[in-house]
């Protein structure tokens, strides 16, 4: 099993997301994350999909996605030639006794504290998946209440 990041440029038609996600479930492809949002061209969106599978199924995923009528283009974002970012929000149980420890850890990762309550903190971190995984692993020492991740977005480096 390997992972691939696909960047898909799609027209904003009704049902476009369901056409894309339906293709994954119907053909039994694995989807790890999917993010969609606006882009530089009005009426179009960029969708970033992280999919996993063997070489053959990843090739089929790319071809089947390219075949969708709403898809204008599809690119594979190769690791060395692209940047990926993901945002994670983590709610950690942190009363006065451990609050400072959590904040120090967040500082090391340049994460932001975006909400503080008597018993908990919400931390925001942006980074690639490796950085986020490492941060979450370190926070395991505290009591994590909830995690929400956006899934990655990515762009190829340079022009073309």
């Amino acid at each position: 099993m390997q992972k691939k990041v696909f960047q898909i440029f799609v027209e904003n038609t009704s049902g476009v997301l369901s056409r894309i996600s339906g293709l994954f479930s119907r053909r039994g492809y694995n989807i790890e994350s999917i993010t969609a949002g606006g882009c530089e061209e009005p009426g179009f969106s960029r969708v970033t999909i992280v999919a996993s599978g063997d070489d053959e199924s990843l090739e089929q995923i790319e071809k089947q996605l390219a075949k969708l009528v709403d898809v204008r283009s599809i690119k594979v974002l190769a690791p060395g030639e692209s940047v990926y970012r993901e945002i994670v929000l983590i709610k950690v149980k942190a009363d006065a006794s451990v609050r400072q420890n959590v904040i120090s850890l967040a500082d090391v990762f340049r994460a932001k504290i975006i909400d503080v309550s008597v018993e908990s903190l919400i931390i925001e971190l942006t980074g690639d998946q490796g950085k986020i995984d490492a941060f979450v692993a370190l926070l395991e020492g505290f009591e994590i209440v909830e995690i929400a991740r956006t899934g990655i977005v990515g762009l190829g480096r340079g022009i073309n």
Binding site: V10, E11, S14, G15, S18, R19, G22, R26, E56, E59, Q60, K63, Q64, A66, K67, V69, D70, V71, R72
Partner: protein
């Protein structure tokens, strides 16, 4: 002009001659407007058959067939017909009425989310929300359905959109789609590569699929094969791409095909797979078509190339264009010895049947029938044992062979034959079905009579769902379960009830005489052939 009028104008602009369908409240504005048009309407007796009939039109004309049904159950009934067309890449335009757009999503009477339901069976679908989008949507829909890898497109039109006034009707002359641009022209470098490999090949074979027929490349295939003396086999959907008795044609491949065709394909040193999906029934062991050989895979759908077998030379494009380009290449191919070898295979490997003389032998009957058919006759095979016999023994001369190959939808033959006959009234159209598949569509006898569509129907009667019975014979040691068709109607009386002429053949003795009577006049006729219930394909 309201939305429904605009839809009719779009259909006229696309030169649609006939719409098969079934009305209901949600599609009534459409059926009201069509009265003002010269477009013929045919009231089918169940919606699934509207799509099959449109498929018959499409396969005869090369243009999308059109069906129009109402919302809710009308729309859900048509799904099997859409899925059947999708599996065989047949272009259709399926118009469904929908409840008032302000009520969408509130589960009102006869509301079904049809665009959602058909998502995996259509090439594309539209839910029309603004009446002013109708001209663009129809222009796009016909374009999408009939270009690239062809397929069905569904257009769901809420009743209020059909009734709304359109500001200005202008049917677009050109397509301006920013996302959809299928590749139809083969890559020049790849074509040269194919020519170089063909020059080296000693045992080249072409395997023609349904894509050859869809791109209307039959003549180009034949000319290319003849120019270089390359033998041709076909998949089920490719039957008819070459005349059956052409000296270079060696039958259908696959687990229900000819043993010599499979052997020819597997032993080749260069295989050109064109317009075929390499699916399980045609190629049960994909490694046999890649091992020790150059595999050239030509398809207009890039996703089919390499899906089931990794080709040496992938070639994306329309079969028609690619054969024309290949014919411009200068090379010599020495395949004369191969043709001799394959003729030898055919002589020794043709299946020997031992028909029971007390019954009609379906194999011999089908061959006799097709020999006596008009040269450009249309033969529609249903699904079941009848389909396999048809594939094995029907002789295509200069006509068409149609069947539901991908989905294997029982009941396809009668409505598809009706569509074909409506599209080509001058041609002889024969549906060949079993007694099971006949009963799945026998309600359409009324449609044939009402609309004067003189289709001829052969029913191979064995009182069983023969294909399943055969499967249970081999797999479950004759433990038959739910395959007995007792209770079927007396076809002679049924034909009389519909006012259709009827003939029955009990054995081969009067075969020629009965076939002559069956084919003599251009009118609806049912010919029942009593076949051995225990016969195997």
């Amino acid at each position: 002009m309201n939305g429904a009028d605009a839809i009719i104008k779009c259909l006229e602009a696309e030169k649609v001659d006939v719409v098969f369908g079934y009305p209901g409240v949600a599609i009534c504005p459409f059926y009201n407007s069509i009265l003002e048009s010269d477009i013929r309407t045919i009231l089918i007796r169940t919606e699934q058959n509207a799509a099959h009939a449109a498929s018959g039109v499409s396969r005869l004309t090369g243009r999308p067939g059109v069906c129009a049904v109402t919302s809710g159950p009308g729309a859900t009934n048509v799904i099997t017909g859409i899925a059947t067309a999708f599996a065989d890449s047949i272009p259709l335009i399926c118009i469904t009425g929908q409840v008032d757009s302000s009520l969408l999503g509130s589960d009102v009477f006869q509301e079904a989310d049809i665009t959602g339901a058909v998502e995996s069976f259509v090439k594309y679908s539209y839910l029309v929300k603004d009446v002013n989008d109708i001209p663009r949507i129809f222009k796009e829909a016909f374009h999408i359905a009939n270009t690239g890898r062809k397929g069905p497109v569904l257009i769901d039109v809420p009743i209020d959109v059909q009734n709304a006034q359109i500001k200005q009707f202008k049917y677009p002359e050109t397509i301006s789609m920013r996302t959809y641009k299928p590749t139809v022209k083969g890559n020049a470098a790849q074509i040269k590569k194919v020519a170089r490999e063909l020059a080296k090949a000693k045992k080249p074979i072409i395997c023609a699929g349904g894509g050859v027929i869809l791109s209307e490349a039959e003549d180009e295939l034949r000319m290319f094969a003849e120019k270089h003396g390359i033998p041709v086999v076909s998949t089920m959907m490719g039957i008819g791409s070459m005349p059956t008795r052409h000296p270079l044609y060696f039958g259908m491949v696959g687990n229900n095909g000819k043993a010599y065709a499979n052997r020819a394909m597997n032993e080749s040193d260069l295989l050109i797979m064109v317009g075929a999906r390499v699916a399980d029934r045609a190629v049960s062991q994909p490694d046999l078509i890649t091992r020790d050989k150059v595999l050239v895979h030509i398809d207009v759908d890039p996703a089919e190339i390499g899906k089931n077998a990794g080709p040496t030379i992938p070639l994306v494009g329309d079969a028609d264009n690619i054969f024309l380009d290949l014919m411009k290449e200068d090379f010599n191919c020495e395949a004369e010895e191969l043709v001799e070898t394959l003729n030898g295979y055919r002589d020794t490997m043709e299946k020997k049947r031992t028909p029971n003389p007390e019954f009609v032998d379906p194999a011999a009957f089908i061959t006799r029938l097709s020999e006596k058919m008009q040269d450009n006759g249309v033969y529609v095979a249903d699904v079941g044992q009848n389909q396999i016999w048809s594939c094995g023994y029907h002789v295509v001369k200069n006509g068409k062979f149609m069947t539901s190959g991908g989905m294997g939808t029982m009941g396809y033959s009668i409505p598809a034959a009706m569509g074909a006959k409506v599209a080509a009234p001058d041609r002889q159209v024969i549906a060949v079905c079993g007694d099971g598949s006949f009963q799945m569509s026998m309600m359409e006898l009324a449609t044939m009579q009402q609309h004067n569509v003189p289709v001829k129907i052969v029913v191979l009667k064995n009182n069983y769902l023969g294909m399943v019975r055969q499967y249970q014979h081999f797999t479950y040691k004759d433990n038959y379960s739910v395959v007995d068709l007792s209770g079927s109607p007396d076809l002679e009386k049924l034909s009389a009830a519909y006012g259709i002429d009827f003939l029955r053949l009990y054995d081969m003795e009067k075969c020629d005489e009965v076939i002559d009577a069956f084919l003599k006049e251009d009118k609806s006729m049912i010919l029942e052939c009593i076949i051995d219930p225990m016969d195997l394909v």
